[in-house]
């Protein structure tokens, strides 16, 4: 197995006891932990460079601005965007999705149009589009999920062929099932029909190599906090011509050219969509996270995740009364395992695990429709990142065995 356990030394938080046991952190799909390098970048920023960006001519402001914009370039390269102007900094995936659902829709969506999502979207991609279609009288349809946790692409084909679809929004990697969707193929189908695409990469960026140009989407969102960066920062990629075809979203400083009390004119992307003082330190931290992940290597991260998941799936499938959701083949999935146990509700299981130092997540994972689809009141989810080890999986299996004995 790809051994990255030496990297644990970079993560101060991992070396603690919880309830008298060494912490095993398997809640990475909710948020990742941060390496010393990222924390240090924040501290360095606040101790040396902190100043507002774009508006100053003094040294600290010049430094902040240069470092801030350098991260935009870094993000563009990291996810394969053609121009750095295609990267808009957001709080995270949710804000990015809402920006598109509001600002893109205002220009491009009208009564009678159809927006297509999938049955495995995160609430952020369901509710923002519900709000968007409600505002303009469009309709929301969805591509259902098959029993094996993959999308029923035949329904997508027929929706695209028969409905006035304007936008297709689809998750890259499902945070509940672990399914890796064939987003390149899906975007090609949409593009062939002139349909815009938004890919939710919250679980993908920093976990698998991502190239937005190769995927061929119009928009792509991600959250920094799920890829070793600070909380409060993320990114929206949008194709430049699409972004510049959109009217502003929020009004404020930095997004304007000239303002009179009567009317205003606006900058081009990306600044048009970044009103107000941004999370400057968050952006600096995001840059440090990308440096860190690249030093580890995205291929190594992906390989390690796949191997650990294969190992975990084999052990989990052997437990009595355990039902694993999502694709059966580890090659088709990301490094997480969502499951139900016959004898214990997810919340009881997570509570039990916690008293042994194991951090799992139980519930609907912001995918209530998917839970209903699989007739589960919720699942227990173990999600891994590169700093997790086989020994930690063994420990989880041990604890689950105890839980089964306890609750049965």
């Amino acid at each position: 197995m790809t051994d990255l356990s030496h990297l644990r030394a970079d993560f101060p938080i991992l070396h603690q006891q919880v309830c008298g046991h060494p912490l095993v952190y398997f809640d990475n799909a909710a948020t990742s932990q941060k390496p010393r390098q990222v924390i240090d970048a924040l501290v360095h920023y606040y101790e040396h460079d902190n100043a507002n960006v774009h508006r100053g001519l003094h040294e600290l402001s010049n430094r902040s601005t240069a470092n801030f914009e350098a991260v935009r370039k870094k993000v563009a390269r990291f996810i394969g965007a053609e121009h750095e102007e295609e990267i808009i900094f957001t709080r995270g995936s949710t804000e990015g999705i809402n920006l598109v659902a509001q600002a893109w829709s205002a220009q491009h969506l009208k009564a009678g149009d159809v927006v297509v999502i999938t049955g495995m979207e995160h609430h952020s991609d369901i509710v923002s589009w519900q709000l968007a279609v409600e505002r303009c009288g469009a309709t929301l349809k969805h591509v259902p999920v098959l029993d094996d946790g993959t999308l029923d692409i035949s329904v997508l084909d027929s929706l695209l062929a028969t409905e006035p679809v304007k936008m297709l929004a689809c998750v890259h990697i499902s945070n509940s099932l672990g399914t890796i969707n064939p987003v390149k193929e899906i975007c090609a189908k949409a593009r062939a029909r002139g349909v815009a695409t938004l890919i939710d990469g919250a679980q993908a960026v920093g976990h698998v190599p991502v190239n937005v140009r190769d995927i061929g989407c119009d928009f792509y969102v991600f959250s920094g906090h799920k890829m070793c960066a600070p909380t409060g920062i993320g990114g929206l990629y949008g194709r430049l011509e699409t972004l510049n075809s959109m009217q502003p979203w929020h009004g404020g400083g930095e997004m304007i050219e000239t303002v009179t009390l009567e009317r205003s004119t606006y900058k081009a992307a990306p600044h048009r969509f970044e009103a107000g003082t941004p999370d400057i330190a968050g952006v600096i931290g995001l840059g440090a996270a990308i440096d860190y992940l690249e030093s580890v290597g995205l291929e190594n991260i992906q390989a390690h995740g796949r191997e650990l998941t294969l190992y975990a799936m084999e052990k989990l499938n052997a437990l009595p009364g355990l039902r694993l959701l999502g694709p059966p083949a580890p090659a088709d999935r990301a490094s997480l395992a969502g499951f139900t146990l016959a004898c214990a509700h997810p919340h009881d299981l997570v509570e039990f695990a916690n008293t042994q130092g194991l951090a799992l997540r139980g519930g609907h994972h912001c995918t209530q429709p998917l839970m209903k689809r699989f007739k589960a009141p919720g699942t227990t989810r173990a999600s891994f990142y590169f700093y997790n080890t086989q020994a930690e999986v063994d420990r989880m299996i041990d604890i689950l065995n105890q839980a089964i004995a306890f609750f049965s």
Partner: protein, 151 residues
């Protein structure tokens, strides 16, 4: 790897037993019956409670159905056992005492009536589970209100 005392307190044998074999499981229909649905949307716990109130406002009969964690289901089951046949006066006291038991706020006035329910005291150490333990109880309070509005 010994289990922690807190955990053993939370999931006492009696509690696990109620969650596995809930008492008064089912529905009630007919005159004087009030049905209330309650849920904890964030955790997905759901409960349906049917109460047949007595003339004095006490509980003549009560049944429930639901799904959720052991705490929410056991609490519902144990609640129905205690409530059945309770007069209006005692009912209010019971609800207050139960809340005091699981939150640790306020004092329990009538330990005897509480009986087995006192075992749910373990919830105090798990504040985020209070809403599980009180799910069925909030449904009953809502039923009392509905009845009040109906009469």
């Amino acid at each position: 790897m010994a289990l922690s005392d807190d955990l053993r307190d939370l999931y006492q044998q009696v509690i696990l037993d109620h969650s596995r074999s809930p008492r008064n499981h089912g529905q009630l229909h007919g005159e004087g019956c009030v049905h209330v649905h309650g849920d904890n949307p964030t955790c997905g716990d759901e409960i349906d409670v049917w109460v047949k109130f007595a003339a004095d406002g006490g509980v003549e009969d009560i049944k429930f159905e639901g799904q959720g964690c052991a705490i929410s289901q056991a609490s519902a089951s144990m609640m129905t056992v205690k409530m059945k046949g309770t007069d209006a006066e005692k009912l209010k006291g019971l609800i207050q005492d139960f809340r005091a038991t699981v939150t640790g706020e306020g004092t329990v006035k009538d330990e005897d009536t509480l009986g087995e329910l006192a075992l749910l005291e373990g919830v105090q150490k798990f504040p985020q589970r209070v809403k599980c333990a009180t799910l069925a109880w909030r449904a009953v309070e809502q039923a009392m209100q509905q009845k009040g509005e109906g009469s």
